[in-house]
Subunit: 142 residues, 2 copies
């Protein structure tokens, strides 16, 4: 149960650092958006198709914010009509560890949930820890 961070001071400092990080990456879309750009530049509608359920308004806003934080660069080509691409910057590479950790957790957590649901007849800890309704809590689970 012991972790690397265990003094009161490093712990408080970590809370601040995490808060800073989340301030920049918050919301439902920023990280998925960055991931969807990892295999090269994409155009607006292309992204919208890939990130099922994102509306143009929200996508537009998220892209603007990522641009301001220098994770994404917007390139306009003066074709007729204009075409616009979005691509990741060099700086965005500093997010790779976060993305990889989230990805690994997401994958493992989904498997855990599926396993849980299969053996859901066993309720030994039901009183202390209510059996979560995982099926409703993860959206896709195809």
């Amino acid at each position: 149960m012991e972790r690397k961070l265990h003094t009161k001071e490093t712990c408080k400092q970590s809370v601040t650092e995490i808060t800073d990080a989340l301030y920049v990456l918050n919301g439902k879309w920023k990280l998925p958006l960055i991931v969807s750009l990892t295999n090269g530049p994409k155009r607006f509608n292309e992204i919208q198709r890939e990130l099922k359920n994102i509306t143009p308004k929200v996508l537009s806003k998220e892209l603007r914010e990522l641009e301001q934080n220098e994770f994404v660069i917007r390139k306009v080509f003066d074709t007729v009509p204009v075409s616009v691409t979005y691509e990741l910057t060099e700086y965005s590479k500093c997010l790779d560890d976060i993305i990889e950790a989230l990805r690994a957790f997401g994958q493992q957590h989904r498997e855990r949930i599926i396993g849980k649901n299969k053996s859901s007849s066993v309720h030994e800890h039901a009183a202390e820890l209510p059996e979560p309704e995982y099926a409703d809590e993860l959206e896709v689970l195809k």
Copy 2:
């Protein structure tokens, strides 16, 4: 500019995995809350004091959600009056990589912003990439 994930398929799958992960960890408080519990069990008011600005209503809700996802366990001691502690579960360890990555990024990003603000007289890329108002964008920066 090449990363590990670069085929269309692995990229789409990663988006799903990230979405799953964020589904469980979303919001402003869950990760900071978990971090604040890394140096041992804490009581309700103790947490509230440590996480400046969280209201009891929100804290209560966040703790309930973390409990349902089995990251936190709530222990009630029948002292008079009852005392309650919250502590991290074994399973919560699977979040350590995420937390460490976010922490490292948060720390480095804050330093980058401070550096940017010092040399803010240089505006060579102002037209393409508006100089972000970092001072307003990070909340603490004491």
